[in-house]
């Protein structure tokens, strides 16, 4: 199967966004039909008898089909735009680095003959500063290793995040009295989605910027090296050292020796670093002028400086560049596509289209065709479910527990997710029993390969008590397993599994989005159309 690229993820997110813009019953039905057709026409024919469809393969096929349809209409997809923009940015960053590095080198290496160039200044400006930046990066990276999520790991991000959050909260508190509930929910939902995407893709969308930075740095160092060498070859440049501190030549020699450790094994003698005599001979003492300085000593510094730039500037950046490129590839290869939008897409693809519309008795009407479709689809959802190999722990609120028979919920889950029911738990009896359930889950953990389905009446407003229970549930089971909020409508005389009103679905979806967890999402337990 083809490798995943950042542009694929961008296009996937773009298509998900477009699908999510309107979630009316008609739109939902259209999405169901479209995605089911993609599955039947493009995924199923590639499967062997009894073979389970692969999650990544299904998503890739869906993406290809959607792209083909879009490009047929000559639409430019954001992934493609990103790719071309990013290629240009890479070149631009290298060139900018080269020019700036070269320019900086040229302006520094101007020797008028009255005083040698101070190697300490060269080292401070071009080498130590870069080493400092690298050290900072290393500290951040080590800090990150201790934390799970990238976005919340960087102390800088956290500081900015905390400040912004406090500003936002203060603004929200002030605005909440003026803002309507709908605008407030929408704003919280958008914030949640941003956090959610950060969790879903982690460093994936950070790496391209990181790569650009490395390219700039590589360009800069290259420019600096080339200019330094060019000046050394074409001009007579004298390097010396001076300091108000009473540094003696031996100390400088020892420092230089230590700095040159990375390359001293590679090149030997005076090429690796100046000798003590050369250091002594290149010491600038203002009151004595420069006439006493040795020419040979003044010219002895440049290899050391070039090696410093190469080993402390250029090579680490090259290493980071390769590391970022490899990380990106590995990260993309490891994406499991288990987040809400993917789950919903796979559900649409594997759910049979059921129609109960009447048709004329004579001839094969559409109803007959649809029933064939349904038969063909039988078992696919189950197969896909098995491919995930996950079962479902169902949580049913106390209010509807009695009306929700085991068989009914079992068949609904089987039909919708193709998964087996691991257990059915009664929740919301009272605060104590809820706390007990959560404590149990925390202690024992979920059985392996188990997700959660929380049945929720969508007409009930998502009050804080419900939202907090879901948050606490996530804390108890830890990251990983999906928490699906299975929405149902108002109870009917014979069943509690009734369709959900659009307005209620929207409210719940916004509220769940606001949690900012990619694996907590809403879905209808009952198809809205017949």
């Amino acid at each position: 199967m083809k490798k995943w690229h950042v542009r694929d993820i961008i296009d996937l997110e773009y298509f998900f966004y477009r699908d999510a813009v309107s979630r009316s019953a008609e739109d939902q039905q259209y999405l169901n039909e479209r995605d089911r057709k993609i599955f039947l026409n493009s995924v199923k024919p590639n499967l062997q008898e009894g073979e389970s469809p692969d999650r990544q393969f299904m998503i890739r096929t869906w993406l290809d089909r959607r792209r083909a349809k879009e490009t047929a209409q000559e639409a430019i997809l954001p992934g493609e735009s990103y790719e071309s923009l990013y290629s240009s940015a890479r070149i631009l960053f290298i060139i900018t680095g080269l020019v700036l590095g070269g320019g900086a080198g040229l302006s520094f290496l101007t020797y008028t003959g009255d005083r040698p160039l101070n190697v300490f200044v060269y080292l401070s400006v071009f080498v130590f500063s870069q080493v400092l930046l690298l050290l900072l990066l290393l500290v951040l990276f080590l800090y990150k290793l201790k934390k799970k999520y990238f976005w919340s790991s960087s102390p800088l991000y956290r500081a900015i995040g905390r400040t912004m959050l406090s500003i936002l909260l203060a603004a929200r508190d002030r605005a909440s009295e003026k803002l309507g509930a709908e605008q407030r929910n929408r704003a919280e939902s958008i914030l949640g989605i941003i956090v959610n995407k950060g969790h879903t893709y982690g460093v994936l969308f950070f790496l391209p910027f990181f790569v650009l930075t490395q390219l700039f740095a590589i360009g800069f160092n290259l420019g600096l090296l080339v200019t330094t060498l060019f000046k050394v070859v074409t001009a007579d440049i004298a390097f010396g050292w001076q300091s108000t501190l009473q540094l003696n030549s031996a100390a400088v020699h020892s420092l230089v020796q230590k700095i040159s450790l990375p390359w001293s094994w590679l090149v030997s003698g005076e090429l690796a670093y100046p000798s003590l005599t050369q250091i002594e001979g290149s010491r600038i003492i203002l009151k004595e002028g420069i006439y006493h300085l040795s020419n040979q000593a003044l010219a002895s510094w440049w290899p050391f400086l070039c090696f410093s730039v190469l080993f402390y500037g250029m090579l680490p950046r090259l290493f980071l560049f390769v590391l970022a490129a490899v990380s990106q590839r590995r990260y993309l290869a490891r994406l499991d596509f288990r987040q809400g939008s993917y789950e919903q897409l796979l559900l649409r693809m594997t759910s049979p289209l059921v129609s109960t519309r009447g048709r004329k008795v004579d001839g094969a009407g559409p109803g007959e065709k649809e029933s064939t479709l349904e038969n063909a689809a039988k078992g696919e959802a189950a197969a896909y479910g098995r491919s995930g190999g996950r079962s479902i722990l169902i949580m049913v609120p106390d209010d509807i527990f009695a009306a929700c028979s085991k068989e009914q919920i079992g068949s609904t889950v089987k039909h919708r997710f193709g998964s087996a029911v691991a257990e059915i738990l009664r929740i919301n009896e009272d605060s104590d029993t809820d706390a007990e359930i959560l404590a149990n889950l925390k202690d024992k953990g979920l059985p392996p390969s188990t997700d959660i389905l929380l049945v929720q009446e969508a007409w009930q407003p998502p009050i804080q008590e419900y939202v907090n229970f879901i948050k606490d549930l996530r804390k108890a089971i830890g990251p990983g397993p999906c928490i699906r909020i299975g929405l149902i409508g108002k109870p009917l005389p014979d069943t509690i599994f009734s369709p959900v009103k659009e307005v209620n679905r929207k409210i719940w979806t916004q509220k769940m989005n606001a949690i900012g967890d990619p694996c907590i999402y809403t879905l209808d337990l009952v198809n809205n159309v017949s």
Binding site: S176, R184, D399, D430, S431, P462, I463, E465, N468, K490
Partner: protein, 477 residues
């Protein structure tokens, strides 16, 4: 309880049950923010009832319960340690962001406010509702429950009533979207029963409300009578210099006349709208109602006097119109007097070749002299049309609940229902003679100034407006 302070009533309940709608309707305030999204109200808002500059009672809108079961749990734990459990709960949780909404809604309760618990009766009772009812019971404050059904489902009403019997002194059905003046007064009457201490105050409020409503009706009757007087006596006169311009001039004058009448009518309606405290809602008389034949449609204009010759013709036809209308009313036609009149008059004119007559009119104007005058109206139907329009407008404006915000639904219903009859069609001969006397007086050359006739019409209209106010269901046309 705090007998020395102003009685307060906190409207509490689960989010999105219509608390703000109930309050908006009760307080006749359409500035209260209402939406279908739960959590619209985040802070308490007071709605004082001020009579003669003095605040008598106060309603308080509150946010919905966010953690009913947790709050109840804490309150139950606090029962052993204090009598003021609500105060203690607030003290404990005031800085906890999780309970921010709950602390806010409990604030008026700590101040001894009476409780009006609002629920949506079209949904089943859930454990969170039971927890809320138990919290309210634990407060020990006088309380009543209101079933404000959001849709027509009645399957769960009994369930709710059964629950209410356990926790509330009084409960009643009050639909914030359809409640009119009479139902508002009924609700206030019920409120008296939750605490005997507040009966006298609430009696004052109810009496003031009734007086205020009567005053509004009296003012409305005056507005309508003045508008009729002004419209009926309205005329436009111009000098015709050239007989060749007659057609153009006629069209211009008709347009100007139409504009003037509409302006007078609209001004009067606007006054009524302000009187009933509507800032957002406005009723656009539907284009396809019984007044589908607009005041200035061709058939209506055929009755408007223009010249001596035309006045004679118009007067004759006017007589036919009334006769036909009375016939129609007697036989109880569903189209109503003016629809029948409009249709039949149109048919009559078509039979008489209205085009030919219209041309005669123009000739009449041309031959009649140099001054052309449009109006005053010589046909009493004009008065009936204006009256019916005003009464329809009044019925919508006075009965439109301030908590109802689906303004388009009313417009759409109006467009759908084009066959509804008006009010005037149901009037008896006494009513007609009052109108006739007023019309006669108003069309007199000197404008008419018989105060007795005018007062008679005002009194009659006042009675009609009161009747509309108390009608159980006003059909939205």
């Amino acid at each position: 309880m705090f007998p020395d302070t102003i009685p307060q009533f906190a409207i509490v309940g689960h989010p999105n049950e219509g608390k703000s709608s109930v309050l908006s309707t009760l307080a006749e305030d359409d500035s209260v923010r209402i939406s279908a999204t739960p959590g619209e109200t985040v802070v308490c808002q007071e709605f004082p009832v001020v009579i003669d500059g003095r605040e008598i009672i106060r309603f308080i809108d509150t946010p919905g319960f966010q953690n009913p079961r947790k709050v109840l749990h804490q309150l139950q734990d606090l029962r052993d340690s204090t009598d003021n459990i609500i105060g203690a709960f607030r003290e404990k949780n005031i800085v906890n962001p999780e309970f921010r909404g709950d602390c806010e809604l409990l604030l008026p309760i700590t101040q001894g406010a009476g409780i009006i618990y609002v629920v949506d009766g079209s949904r089943p009772v859930r454990s969170v509702d039971r927890a809320e009812m138990e919290i309210l019971r634990l407060t020990g404050l006088p309380r009543m429950a209101i079933i404000n059904s959001k849709d027509a489902t009645t399957d769960f009403l009994e369930q709710w009533k059964e629950e209410f019997r356990k926790c509330f002194n009084v409960f009643r059905v009050f639909n914030a979207h359809t409640a009119n003046y009479a139902q508002r007064i009924d609700l206030l009457e019920s409120l008296k029963n939750i605490d005997p201490d507040w009966q006298a105050t609430l009696d004052t409020v109810i009496t003031a409300f009734i007086k205020d409503w009567a005053q509004r009706n009296l003012t409305s009757a005056g507005i309508i009578t003045d508008m009729l007087q002004e419209c009926i006596s309205c005329k436009i006169a111009r000098n015709a210099r050239d007989s060749r311009d007659m057609d153009r001039m006629k069209a211009e004058m008709l347009a100007a006349y139409e504009k003037k009448i509409k302006k007078i009518e609209s001004r009067a309606h606007h006054k009524m709208r302000s009187l009933f405290k509507h800032n957002i809602f406005n009723y656009d008389l539907p284009s396809r109602s019984i007044l589908h034949e607009d005041l200035f449609s061709e058939s209506t204009w055929k009755f408007l006097g223009l010249s001596r010759k035309q006045q004679i013709a118009a007067a004759g036809l006017g007589g036919v119109g009334i006769a036909v209308a009375l016939d129609a009313a007697t036989f109880g036609t569903s189209f109503g007097i003016f629809a029948a009149l409009g249709g039949l008059a149109g048919a009559t004119w078509a039979a008489l070749s209205s085009k030919g007559l219209a041309q005669t009119k123009i000739l009449g104007m041309s031959l009649g002299g140099h001054e052309i005058q449009v109006g005053p109206v010589k046909n009493i139907q004009f008065l009936y049309i204006l009256l019916d329009r005003s009464l329809i407008y009044y019925s919508h404006i006075s009965n439109w609940a301030h908590g109802r915000r689906d303004y388009n639904a009313d417009r759409m219903a109006g467009e759908r229902d084009s066959t509804g009859s008006g009010f005037v069609a149901q009037w008896d001969s006494r009513a007609r003679s009052i109108c006739s006397a007023f019309f006669k007086e108003a069309t007199k050359n000197n404008g008419g100034n018989n105060a007795g006739v005018e007062q008679q019409l005002k009194d009659f209209l006042m009675g009609q407006l009161q009747k509309i106010s108390h009608s159980e269901h006003v059909k939205m046309m």
